[in-house]
């Protein structure tokens, strides 16, 4: 496994723990489809929350949150639709939400974590 994938995996681990601590019910992780991957799918109250996790060792290449651009968000919207289509019993009738978690630090387990809620899809 490449170093960057390992970092990403560790970041997602940390994000999932963070979400659970906030009372999110994590439904799915690293759900893949031909169009791409959703890092975390969780339920928070009535909402299905799709979470994109970005992990960076440092902000030398910019803030991790800056990497979630309009194109990425548009793809996440399509992935969210695909996930809902595959899990109708979980998703039916529930509003969807996009959250972004950015983690910066050499060790994702202790690095700085930023959690943006209800990010617009487009």
């Amino acid at each position: 496994m490449a170093a960057k994938d390992e970092l990403g995996r560790a970041g997602e681990q940390r994000a999932a723990a963070h979400l659970r601590a906030l009372g999110f019910d994590v439904l799915d992780r690293n759900w893949r489809s031909p169009a791409g991957e959703v890092d975390v799918v969780a339920r928070h109250g009535e909402r299905i929350v799709f979470v994109e996790v970005k992990t960076r060792r440092s902000d030398g290449f910019g803030d991790p949150l800056e990497a979630v651009d309009a194109r990425k968000r548009a793809r996440l919207w399509q992935l969210a639709n695909a996930w809902c289509a595959q899990h109708p019993d979980l998703a039916r009738g529930r509003p969807r939400r996009l959250d972004v978690i950015g983690i910066t630090g050499p060790d994702p387990a202790t690095g700085r974590l930023e959690h943006l809620e209800d990010v617009p899809w487009v």
Partner: protein
């Protein structure tokens, strides 16, 4: 978090509007947006501010930043908003004194390295800020002398963005190695050392010039090549009194808008002599997005000299008619209008015909009659109607050159002009006007000092004959008052009116 606000100035012509720059940080993905009708240069401010902040050791908050320029419906141009936007944006992240920012206007363009670059129009912008009650203005280091010309406002010349942040209480390290961006090299033309005493002969024309200077009247000189028309015109600024504070500030503001370096209040009246191929836009001002002042605005409070008036395009000459009447020029563009002052004194010089010898004693004109008519036809009737003094000049003869007689120097003439202007100002002290050329017609004809019918008789006769328009009638009265002022008399006499009428209709047509 939350909204932070500061001030900047949007210029439309010489008139500045104070613009509130408010920045809001929302808990969203990082984004930096400017709204409130920015143009392309202003929209690109986000890139400059991002890099300038980073290179100044200041961090923009990594969230969605929205900067609004209010009034939002007013179009805003140029890079002069960079500093204000940067300060408002940085302040949303905390670490700066919000009150300090909210009471300061910021003007200047940012370089990627964080240094603040000079912008045109700082003087009118600071004036507008001071007038609307702003007490502290941050300007580019290179423009600080210009901004300090405006009284009752604290001017801070900033070298770089870190300087500004420190001013508002941010903890940024000082970098002594930062060199200020220098001011653009201005066209520094040393004033021509010309004196009226160098003019040989031409007593009538010199007198006409002095009268024109005394009242601020418009002047037309015709004569053959070599008679000294251009020479005389170039000596007009030298006999005009120095500009007062207000006029000097207006002249300096226009120079600043035109991109010239302004470091001190120049009290010499401006002198603009556009070439006869100048277009209408060059003369009245123009431009599609940023409206630049034209020659008539740059000549405001001074002299606009059109040499070879007969060679100018008729359309450009006629473009002068409206500003001549109103003293200002309003330029309309899609979405906004810009207005500039145009209180200039017009001096026209022309040959009598293309070959220059028409009606000249001892010379033969080779022009066909149609060419002569076409040549002088460029000077339209409506334009000539706005000319107060017409002087026909002749070639100076040998006898005149040889004669050793005392001639008027510029200093003597200026003294006469200043005395006459003081008399006029004293007479007009209860009116909104200061010079004879500004006085409104009804005041001349029916005001407290209106001349009695006996004195007006030659004018009434000319009006009845149709050789004088009503506007021309008023103009003759204005020149007559200048003649009275020069002679040191408090009342108009038949002599003044007759002489003024002669000056007005001095060229047979």
């Amino acid at each position: 978090m939350g909204v932070s606000r500061t001030w900047a100035v949007a210029l439309a012509g010489l008139e500045g509007t104070v613009v509130e720059v408010e920045a809001d940080l929302t808990h969203q993905l990082p984004e930096f947006r400017i709204i409130g009708l920015p143009d392309k240069a202003l929209g690109e401010a986000t890139q400059r501010i991002r890099n300038a902040s980073e290179n100044s050791g200041l961090a923009l908050p990594k969230r969605r930043l929205t900067v609004n320029l209010s009034p939002a419906s007013l179009p805003k141009q140029g890079s002069g908003f960079d500093v204000a936007i940067a300060v408002a944006a940085l302040a949303t992240g905390g670490g700066m004194d919000r009150d300090s920012i909210a009471t300061t206007a910021h003007i200047g363009e940012l370089g990627l390295d964080g240094r603040i670059r000079p912008v045109p129009g700082v003087l009118p912008a600071v004036l507008a800020a001071a007038r609307s009650g702003v007490r502290r203005v941050v300007v580019p280091w290179a423009n600080r002398a210009e901004a300090e010309l405006v009284g009752d406002v604290q001017v801070i010349g900033a070298v770089c963005l870190a300087d500004v942040a420190r001013l508002h209480g941010a903890q940024v390290e000082e970098d002594p190695a930062v060199e200020p961006v220098p001011a653009p090299e201005g066209r520094s033309s040393p004033p021509e050392a010309v004196d009226l005493s160098e003019v040989v002969g031409q007593e009538a024309a010199v007198e006409g010039l002095v009268v024109a200077a005394a009242g601020g009247h418009h002047l037309l000189m015709t004569g053959p090549p070599g008679a000294g028309k251009t020479m005389l015109a170039r000596r007009l600024p030298g006999i005009l009194p120095p500009l007062d504070d207000e006029a000097a500030l207006v002249a300096a503001s226009i120079r600043s808008l035109a991109g010239a370096a302004v470091t001190h209040l120049d009290r010499t009246p401006p002198f603009e002599a556009p070439h006869h191929t100048a277009s209408v836009a060059a003369l009245v001002g123009g431009g599609s997005r940023i409206v630049r002042p034209g020659a008539i605005a740059r000549a405001s409070e001074g002299v606009l000299f059109l040499d070879e008036a007969g060679e100018h395009h008729a359309s450009t000459l006629d473009a002068l008619r409206q500003p001549l009447e109103t003293g200002s020029i309003v330029i309309h563009r899609a979405g906004f209008t810009a207005s500039f002052p145009a209180r200039f004194q017009l001096v026209l010089a022309t040959n009598p015909c293309p070959c220059g010898n028409y009606a000249v004693r001892g010379a033969v004109c080779t022009c066909p009659p149609i060419a002569i008519r076409r040549y002088l036809g460029r000077l339209s009737g409506p334009l000539l109607d706005r000319i107060d003094i017409e002087v026909a000049m002749e070639r100076v003869s040998v006898a005149q050159v040889d004669r050793t007689r005392s001639v008027m120097t510029s200093a003597q003439a200026r003294e006469q002009v200043m005395e006459a202007r003081q008399r006029a100002a004293a007479r007009l002290r209860d009116t909104p006007w200061r010079r004879n050329s500004q006085v409104a017609g009804p005041w001349l004809r029916q005001g407290p000092l209106a001349p009695p019918p006996v004195v007006r008789r030659p004018l009434d006769a000319a009006l009845q004959r149709g050789s004088l328009t009503l506007r021309g009638y008023d103009r003759v009265l204005r020149v007559a008052w200048s003649l009275a002022d020069l002679a040191g008399e408090d009342r108009l006499t038949l002599d003044h009116v007759g002489r003024a009428l002669y000056l007005k209709k001095g060229i047979p047509r």
